[in-house]
């Protein structure tokens, strides 16, 4: 097993675990995340495995429901970023000229603001809520996808097979969907994974400042922020959500890095052919790729 494969496998397992925790939170959580028990700031015990917060709410349940909020917003944001950004990039690579100019200037404008500042300003003036938050964060990361899609489709658009497809009467829409998109999919998938890490960083930061999904919903960022008043008495309250955030960010980054190595276009041809003839999936790694 190559180290990239191993990294993808480990990170993939962690991501899968987080996703299961998020989806299964209502079943897995031992308590209602908003239920206040009389045991305030309790240490871990059989009743509350990770202890309780200053309102007597069960920390484990809040962590699980926090995973639900964070991962939902992260997934929606990346879908928004890739769903708007990638088509814009492909469009401007296909049409060039005025379309290209307008798209690139719009992207420059988004990039003219430091990301977190733009998010804070947008949330302040436009209001918050899960969907709005996801769209705002999505717009923040749209430039990366647009530029990536632009750069990769530029190479595809100049290929002979695209001329051939056009000569056979394929519409521009069909060309983009059937020929350009599949050929630029790998870098976009890698970027999705890396972006999930960034998005969780921004979402939890906003939440920490009280500008994320409004209370009483449990979010990791707010859990860190709420723990700060009691951290001297109950440092565990700070530790759990911090670890959850770091675990999620680390796993998405590692998955993205690993996928980039696995999906490296220079290896892909080799890899496909070997699979097709049934040889074990272990392409010789190009030295220092």
């Amino acid at each position: 097993m190559r180290s990239a494969d191993l990294r993808v496998a480990v990170a993939g397992l962690v991501v899968l675990g987080l996703a299961l925790a998020a989806l299964g939170a209502p079943v897995l959580a031992p308590h209602d995340p908003l239920e206040m028990s009389p045991a305030l700031l309790a240490a871990p015990s059989p009743a509350h495995v990770l202890g309780t917060d200053s309102f007597g709410r069960d920390t484990l349940s809040r962590l699980l429901f926090g995973a639900r909020t964070s991962l939902l917003i992260a997934a929606l944001s990346v879908v928004a970023a890739a769903g708007i950004g990638a088509p814009l990039g492909i469009l401007s690579a296909t049409y060039r000229g005025a379309v290209d100019w307008v798209v690139m200037r719009a992207i420059d404008l988004i990039l003219a603001f430091p990301p977190l500042i733009l998010a804070i300003a947008a949330v302040t003036f436009l209001g918050t809520g899960p969907v709005k938050l996801a769209v705002i964060i999505g717009v923040l990361y749209l430039p990366t996808f647009a530029r990536l899609a632009y750069a990769s489709s530029l190479a595809v658009v100049q290929q002979d097979y695209l001329d051939a497809a056009r000569a056979l009467g394929g519409s521009t829409w069909r060309l983009m969907r059937r020929h350009v998109l599949p050929n630029i999919a790998s870098p976009l998938i890698v970027q999705c994974s890396l972006s999930l890490g960034f998005v969780i960083l921004v979402e939890s930061g906003l939440s920490f400042l009280g500008l994320g999904v409004p209370p009483p919903a449990a979010t990791w960022g707010r859990m860190v922020s709420e723990s700060r008043n009691y951290m001297q008495r109950m440092p565990l309250l700070l530790i759990w959500p911090s670890l959850a955030i770091a675990l999620a960010i680390g796993a998405f980054n590692m998955l993205g890095d690993g996928l980039r190595d696995v999906l490296d276009p220079r290896l892909q041809h080799n890899w496909r052919r070997r699979r097709a003839v049934g040889v074990a999936r272990s392409p010789a790694r190009i030295p220092q790729a």
């Binding site: 200037r105 003219a112 302040t124 860190v224 001297q232 700070l238 770091a246």
Partner: protein
Amino acid sequence: MDTYVIRRLAAAAGLTVAVVTVVFLLLRLVPGDVVLVMLGENEAPPDKVAAMRHALGLDRPLVVQYASWLSGALRGDFGRSFLSGRPIGTDLAARAPRSLELTGAALLLGVAVGVPLGALAARRRGSVLDFLAGGVAIVGITFPSFVVGSVAVLLFGLVLHWFPATGYVDFRSDPLGHLRHLVLPAATLALEIVAITMRMTRSSVLETLSQDFVRTAWAKGLGTAAVLVRHILRNSLIPVVTVIGLQAGTLLGRIVLVEYIFNWPGLSTLLLSGIYQRDYPVVQAVVLIVAVAFVCINLLVDLTYGAIDPRIRLG
């Protein structure tokens, strides 16, 4: 001035105009009546509402509002804070140097630790030092600043009492106390810079180590320090400079979290109190200052990069 510099300057000027326009429009994007939102009550007395609308200039045509806002901003006049009644420009002028100091200290610390650490890790690849440096990089990248800051407050401030946990002391009244208050926030901000410059320096130095001119330098009998500093580092630092420039955006965002945690009275705490109290003109002014500063930083990075590496200018 060659065409590269002129092109960059023109692009930055255009971008600044666009940024100013977007920030101006922000206040007009608030869903519902912004005056009612700011007053925070549904049945505010009509005369109060009208007075507020007039104070914000919202009773005039949009073009007139834009012109007066723009001319005010150019003169550093952002109107008065709706809550404190003080001119916003005065608060900005008092707080901007503190944010600048924190950013500068973090950059300096980050580069001063990151570059040598990266060079040493590359030189002794696979050693314990390399392994430890890799660990620092992973922590710096996966743990968000607000987590690092909170843990730093708890560990070094409240438990070990090495440094004051939060707060700010004026340099003129107590220079030593001022520096002691600076340590934790600056170190928190610097951790990610250390991680990123370290990784970049390491991989860049590793690449340079295998170059022919390095072998020549060794062969002609130069000492380790001379080869490392004069031949290897000098040729490895261009990507490091770029990566530091790219960090500017996240740094300006992360400083908001760090100032908030450590109660550092800079621009970000002004921004946040403006947000929490719905004092929108203050928010607008800070966002504008930070965004324009960011455009200027990017311009400087581009120009520096063009000066270091002539190939960029032809691109």
